[in-house]
Symmetry: C2
Subunit: 696 residues, 2 copies
């Protein structure tokens, strides 16, 4: 079988696993306390063919029972394995031979339990890789596909999960169900809810393309712990977000390493890299299961077109909650622009004087003109989405009547936020749902709606404007040590400038070079056997005249080295803001680029931003905007305004360098001295070899 | 009437306003579209005496109607004013004369509408101040006291709010109701729900002492926008938290100034100062109405004793949600300590090998030993509160059975987090509520529970260990300009050291001083008419010998000044970490102390922490811990370890200085150079006069 054929089979088998027309429970039992019996019970509503494998009986719960996997009918789509871990390899092999599409293992005892389990797990992966059989888990509570009435999960209540538009894909079975239940609490349902567990075979990167083309799925809620193959996930998320919104939650912000390893056997990796890569791929990254459920439900109903910085308007019936909502939106960096005069004139007609109408519009207690106001706001060209908040007051405001015209007229998302007694909200929420107007139940959830819409629009914009992968020409493999001078020469091939400099051998060359360069200069020892140049008196700054030069050369001559007389004379860089830029080759994510502020405080705060290579200029601008200290780039206090284009060119250059030189593991330019004219590399470090890179 | 008598009357009248036995609606109407009629309708279930004032009718909805306020029976507790703004002053005067306890004005048209409304509002305040009449609002939707069946608010459904243990006190009427409805969604009720509106008379600082002694109130949920009298609020919160938990939400993180002013007529003030002061006073500060409702409901059920850093344990039935919970707790800085071996031994008996039991305890699917495990964890001396998470599985886990023994045995809070289908959760939640075991519905809400319990315990600890107000001795009032030398001399009176220095007049004194001091020294021009010393060449660093001294003095002599020959010779401070400390006299909060890291990045990030004076040493340690760059104090890279006690002494000294010298508006020491030995003020600025101080 060719690789292409195998990939095609693997794709089809993944569909068969999650959308089965026939299911066999291996190890099915008549003993209700056993997992195999639970599995049969959960699946009893399955409309396709359900069968069991158990050598001792011929029928379980009225479904046919076969003595062995080898005797199953050909081409069963899904086999559920309720047998001890050590038997799973053999059964998987038999299942593959019998044309089963995919298997799901209920029992634990694999990678999460240590070395022996890890070996079992690796053998399972081999079976899948060689045969095209797909495996969900192990170490997961399974999946539910309400559209196919397939409940391959054994927690009570999950068979009652409604059909819906959100697909949940979670690393953890428990989180999968937690998210699905939160979606239920929001009055919605799922198109698929899958826990990937140890993800030996089926990973999020596999499931996303399937969901991208699934007509039942309108948004994808993703939960991740460790990400062993980040680059594949990045590509899958990027392709999915072009079609459907992806909302993502990543565990591991704090150090929870030991417990995390015990859970899935995976290392967590760098939380920052994962979050940055997902956002770069267009996902909306959130901070909690509640936000994940809410944002996915919302985005399954409405989505903005691609836009780099979407603008949101708020119409509120109560000023206090309005204040909290605008506060939340602005704190999250969402545009809440003032309306044009033409728009405020329209709004003005429906409100008493002295009302605040610039955005937000504070209507006071909703009056009869409320629908017209929302319509005027939605019609404003500068506005991409309209948020409306009002306490539930059925006698003065029917939200469907108030919001539908704006929605229909403008085609823009109009989201309603409200609160009232739980018992009173039912009818309004149902009417809104029928009218396809999304509703959320708190001021902060309305903020989340605005943030999620804007983030999704930005993700799509980024995807459409993403950096073109540069032509990676075959470059000679570099070897040997990189001292500062050689590193700077390499950087200059990628457009990253350094101050003018001359590497000199002996005093005569030094004096000649000094005459050519613009003073002041720095004179540094360049011997490769002197690592800490400054500490031994090998770096002399601010040399302006011949006398100073001679003094510096004298001092350097006194430093013991096997390579005497080798000095670097370099023009002093003009004052500026110091940044650090660089890139590492990450074992999961590939080339990861970094830009941060220089200095010890920035280092202590890890005030840096990361992206997967390649990046374009607009992405580097985003990176700079993410720096907590980004004000320093704009002429803060006595600092110069920084040339952001020059920084972007340098970061892009580092990306190209690392892509063209796979033998280099890491490059760091520290500092990159930036002013309004230029960005100059003052020092650079080049490290060879494969290397995961330190956590950013 | 003496001030003490008036204060006593004001206190009693506040009780009468919120807990009335008789209510009159002024401007009551038979026209259902009018506010006066709505008010009568809302109050019709009121069990006390309800009456109306309207000259045209003698009865409304069966309640007696009087022609004027002057003809009301004596001593009505609460008058609700449904009349236009301009008539309110006169009616308030009549009401006060007739012995009314408090009034609540439905209509708008006061401070929130501009100058004219502001004048009306000020006159209302005068009436209240001189008579002891209390006024809620104006510009609020009123209040609900379900225990007294008093619904002085006119939004549908509020009359159905249940009796409960949480008192809601919100600046905004709309937020008051939003929070109350969220509490309803959590299955709880309120003891009072009040919107303060423009808070002309009744402010949060007034209501808190009343609630602190209200037996129906077990926790207070506070929402604030601007805080005009911060110091009174600080004191009120501090006194309340000694008795009951206070949870607070503060609007205005982002710049929402213009809309905010239009809302209540108040300026927002500094969000950071408000949040810091509330936390310092012992409040649990949260970020959303949902968190406010959830944390208040939780803390109304259970509370930790005072503890500086409470420790939390987690027992989870599913690893994935457990990972999210531990991640959240650790990210929020809550201790999740490993258990003692004795405890893990106990737990081990109930779980299969290879289970993670160090904290969290990951039980896998809950088994029969679950209750014993929770008990063992709750019994651990190192643990103050136990969090338990498990998906709803009634067949394998009855949460009341599983959690009650631990609660009863240990007396510690045991909080249950769960999720399941909304329709299935009802019975379990009801049983938990009956058993007085708090339950929350998501992993993050369980995190919030842990964070809120720990923050409340820390607030109580801080209150018990708060800085004693120092004896403020009468000091001579300082006047005149403070140059660097005089400022440093003043600081030294408060124990804040500077490098050894001598102020010299003429070359001879300078040479003598140089001989006495330890080199290297810095030589600075000290003339008071030279503000930018460095720019004019008036600062010479690193002077080590007589020749260098003479050169520096020559250079300084060439600077034109009216005060020639005056130089400051100061020993160079040893290397160290540079901090900024200071204090300002804030018009709302009084003396506010600040500590931050030095340097331009710290300034751009506003990486500083603030507290109201006076502070004790442990509070300054907390301030240092809050700095985002606090790592820099612990020997980061080549920096020295900082003497935190010396920093604390300096900050405490600045507080004492500002309290003893009310004529000083602001002091800033920048930089404070700190190493393992000492904290030295290298420069200082003293500003006279009353001044609100810039936002921190």
């Amino acid at each position: 079988m060719s690789n292409t054929e195998l990939e095609a089979i693997r794709g089809r088998n993944l569909e068969r696993l999650f959308n089965p027309r026939s299911i066999a429970v291996i190890g099915a039992s008549t003993d209700l306390a056993k997992a195999g019996s639970q599995a049969m019970l959960s699946l009893k509503g399955f409309p396709g063919r359900l069968m069991a494998v158990n050598p001792k009986v011929s029928e379980i719960l009225g479904f046919p029972c076969y003595p062995s996997v080898g005797e199953l009918p050909e081409g069963v789509d899904l086999a559920v394995l309720a047998i001890p871990a050590e038997y799973c390899i053999g059964v998987a092999e038999q299942a593959a031979a019998r044309g089963v599409g995919g298997i799901f293992i209920i029992s634990g005892g694999f990678g999460e339990t240590g070395a022996e389990g890890g070996r079992l797990q690796a053998r399972l992966a081999e079976v899948c890789q060689s045969t095209g059989l797909r495996l969900l888990g192990p170490n997961t509570s399974g999946f539910i596909n309400p559209h196919a009435k397939c409940v391959a999960s054994f927690v009570p209540g999950v068979d009652q999960l409604r059909k819906g538009r959100v697909a949940v894909v979670a690393q953890s079975g428990g989180v999968n169900l937690s998210i699905s239940f939160l979606i239920d609490h929001l009055g919605h349902g799922v198109s698929l809810a899958a826990g990937l567990g140890n993800a030996v075979d089926v990973s999020a990167a596999d499931v996303l393309p399937m969901l991208a083309s699934d007509p039942n799925t309108h948004a994808i809620a993703l939960h991740l712990e460790g990400v062993p193959n980040g680059r594949a996930l990045f590509d899958a998320v990027r392709e999915a977000t072009a079609v459907k919104p992806v909302v993502a939650l990543v565990a591991g912000k704090a150090d929870i390493g030991e417990f995390a390893v015990s859970h899935t056997g995976n290392l967590m990796g760098s939380h920052k890299r994962t979050v940055s890569a997902l956002a770069q791929a267009g996902a909306v990254v959130v901070n909690s299961t509640e936000e994940l459920a809410q944002a996915a439900v919302l985005l399954a109903t409405c989505r903005l077109p691609a836009k780099r910085a979407a603008s949101v308007a708020l119409v509120t019936g109560q000023a206090g909650p309005g204040l909290l909502i605008v506060d939340g939106l602005k704190s999250a960096g969402v545009n809440v622009p003032e309306f044009d005069v033409a728009v405020t004139d329209q709004i003005q007609q429906h409100l008493p004087p002295m009302t605040f109408i610039k955005n937000p519009v504070d209507t006071g207690r909703p009056g009869p003109g409320f629908a017209r106001i929302v319509e005027a706001v939605a019609g404003a060209v500068e506005i991409d989405a309209v948020l409306v908040y009002s306490l539930s007051e059925p006698s003065v405001l029917d939200p469907v009547v108030a919001l539908s015209p704006a929605r229909a007229q403008s085609g823009k998302p109009v989201v309603f936020g409200t609160l009232g007694l739980r018992a009173d909200l039912g009818p309004a929420l149902e009417a809104l749902s029928t009218a396809n107007i999304p509703a959320v139940l708190s001021p902060e959830r309305l903020v989340l709606a605005g943030v999620a819409l804007a983030a999704d629009a930005r993700g799509r914009w980024n995807a459409q404007h993403r950096a073109v992968v540069p032509h990676v020409s075959a470059k000679p493999v570099l070897t040997g040590r990189f001292d500062e001078s050689r590193a700077k020469a390499l950087l200059s091939e990628y457009g990253i400038r350094s101050p003018e400099r001359v590497l000199c051998y002996g005093r005569e060359e030094a004096i000649a070079a000094f005459a050519r360069l613009t003073t002041p200069v720095v004179v540094k020892i360049a011997a490769s056997d002197v690592p800490h140049k400054t500490e031994v008196g090998g770096v002399h700054l601010g040399i302006r005249d011949r006398q100073g030069l001679e003094k510096a050369l004298d001092a350097i001559e006194r430093i013991p080295t096997a390579d005497p007389g080798k000095v670097l004379i370099e023009e002093m860089a003009p004052d500026g803001v110091e940044l650090v830029i660089g890139g590492v080759r990450d074992s999961s994510w590939g080339v990861v680029l970094m830009v941060g502020l220089g200095g010890v405080l920035a280092e202590a705060l890890a005030d840096s931003s990361v992206r997967l290579a390649p990046v374009g200029a607009s992405e580097v601008q985003d990176m700079l905007g993410e720096l907590r200290g980004h004000k320093l780039l704009d002429g803060f206090r006595t600092l110069p305004v920084c040339n952001r284009d020059a920084i972007a060119a340098a970061v892009i250059g580092i990306g190209r360098l690392l892509m063209e030189h796979p033998e280099i593991a890491e490059i760091e330019v520290n500092p990159l001295r930036v002013n309004v004219e230029s960005a100059l590399a003052l020092d650079a470090l080049v490290v060879f070899g494969e290397r995961a890179g330190a956590a950013q």
